[in-house]
């Protein structure tokens, strides 16, 4: 199926954005799943077929007002064939892979010709489907079928990002096309970061974590594992790749921790999300990323209890080759595991999710996807008052 034809022809793009099931084949446009009523007063679905008049790769004004149908002849709600479109009923092949049973003629009364394929398709679908709507008010030809990329399209997804095309932000989304984004640490926040990155057109997403996915992790990561999946105690990176590889082709798992022997693997990344525990390993990673000249975002949250109520802060700290001096003012490498008086390991899924969302939004500002007024390199969200404070603004 030619995505180029559908993307560049405004009338076909509009039809697809509205959810019509379209296919271009051998010079014909096929509209599948068109509801109609047959002579036995049953609701069924057929295929509306019409020739495609093209100029180069895009549509022009339809050459004819005729259309064809594969299915029984559409009838009104009483089972009588719709007279106003009826023309000929002869089963034949218009091309080696296009077969029809009926032909229609519905000439636009005022203009005499359809201006474009949007008008032609919607007019025919309307006439054919109105009786079906009387028997089933919720039925529609606008079914939003999944759209696969063309075989020669080497993009990162297994199916086309129609969310961006529908909302007309494809050129802006292209700014997110980094070759390689790395996530270090796939705990609560890291897994939500992956969830969001998998929906962007980055080339590859590398996941580093030596931990296994355990029962408590299920309560702060997106989606939901089955009991069987939990029983297998997979590596976190493998479990998560299993989910997100359904959508994104470029997920690479590294089921091990970073140390001085392998930290060089980060040198290939275009951007890194640090979602790891505080400690010497983090110091090594930060020192290395700085020496490799990489931009990265560090996240962290802290929750504590008092009087039976929770409070805390969610933090996002950004470091780029242009601005690094603030980083150690706001981020510590102290090994928290050693001090128990104030450490709390409370993490809540909504806070992990918020932390990830704030981090990804900040990355998108870095990419030029979102307008960036403050260029803040450190942000803190305080749960109690809902205050979001930005510091370390770029001069």
């Amino acid at each position: 199926m030619s995505q180029r034809l559908f993307n560049l022809s405004p009338d076909l793009k509009k039809l697809r954005d509205e959810g019509f099931n379209l296919e271009a084949r051998s010079g014909f446009l096929l509209v599948r799943g068109v509801p109609y009523v047959n002579s036995r007063r049953e609701v069924s679905r057929g295929v509306l077929i019409m020739e495609l008049t093209l100029a180069g790769d895009v549509t022009t004004k339809p050459a004819t007002h005729m259309a064809h149908f594969d299915g029984d002849h559409p009838c009104d709600e009483h089972g009588a064939p719709i007279a106003k479109i009826r023309n000929a009923s002869e089963a034949k092949s218009l091309a080696s892979d296009v077969a029809i049973k009926h032909s229609f003629s519905a000439k636009p009364q005022v203009s005499g010709a359809y201006a474009d394929y949007y008008e032609k398709v919607t007019t025919y679908v309307q006439v054919i489907s109105v009786p079906a709507l009387k028997l089933d008010p919720y039925i529609t030809a606008r079914t939003f079928p999944p759209i696969e990329p063309d075989a020669d399209d080497l993009g990162p997804f297994n199916y086309v990002d129609t969310s961006s095309s529908r909302s007309e932000i494809v050129p802006i989304s292209e700014k997110l096309r980094m070759s390689k984004v790395t996530v270090v640490g796939l705990g609560g926040t890291g897994s939500y970061v992956l969830d969001l990155l998998a929906k962007t057109p980055v080339g590859q997403i590398h996941l580093f974590d030596g931990d296994r996915y355990l029962q408590h992790n299920a309560f702060r990561s997106p989606g939901a594992p089955s009991l069987e999946e939990l029983n297998q105690t997979p590596f976190k990176v493998s479990y998560l790749k299993g989910i997100y590889a359904k959508m994104h082709r470029g997920i690479v798992e590294h089921p091990y921790y970073l140390n001085s022997a392998n930290v060089r693997e980060l040198a290939e990344a275009d951007f890194v999300f640090l979602c790891m525990d505080s400690g010497e390993a983090k110091r090594l990673v930060v020192d290395s990323l700085e020496s490799f000249g990489k931009p990265f975002i560090d996240v962290g949250l802290g929750v504590s209890q008092s009087d039976g109520v929770l409070g805390g802060i969610v933090r996002v700290t950004t470091s780029t080759p242009e601005k690094r001096d603030h980083f150690r003012d706001w981020v510590s490498f102290k090994d928290a595991a050693k001090d128990n008086e104030y450490k709390s390991n409370i993490q809540i899924a909504d806070l992990n999710c918020l932390n990830a969302a704030l981090a990804v939004i900040r990355w998108k500002k870095f990419c030029g996807f979102y307008r960036d007024f403050k260029a803040e390199h450190h942000s803190q969200y305080t749960i109690e008052g809902g205050l979001l404070i930005h510091e370390a603004r770029k001069a």
Partner: protein, 155 residues
Amino acid sequence: MEKELKDLKSTVRVHIDQKVFESPGQTTGVALYTLGSVPADLELFREVRGNEEGELVERDDETISVHQGEHFFSGKPKVYVLIVNGQKKQWPQKKISYSQVVKLAFPDLPVGPTSLFSVSFEEGPPSNPQGAMKEGDIVKVKDGMVFNVSATIQS
């Protein structure tokens, strides 16, 4: 106009703890404290009509104006009530530092570098109504100021 000019040029008569003193019209907090022999553990307040507590005169070198006939009195330092991680805490000074805030939140913490903690505040005085604090930062306080302290290291 005449009265103000007089104040600026010369000395004025003021009352400190009901005793009469002569002071330059332009003076400093330190000078006033010394003039009135205010003990080290007390603070000086300027009587302000309508304010029972009086306005604090800081014991520092900043230039302040005093006027003919003004009354000052000494008293115990004002203790502010701060809310730290949801808990009311008393704080006897006009300013507080990052480490002091962390100590208020976690009194049993061993002394040492504390940058693991993120600190945020709101409902502060006009000079610093809201913001984040890092090691070395100092902010002015006011009654009811809200602080949050958290070791933001979980992910």
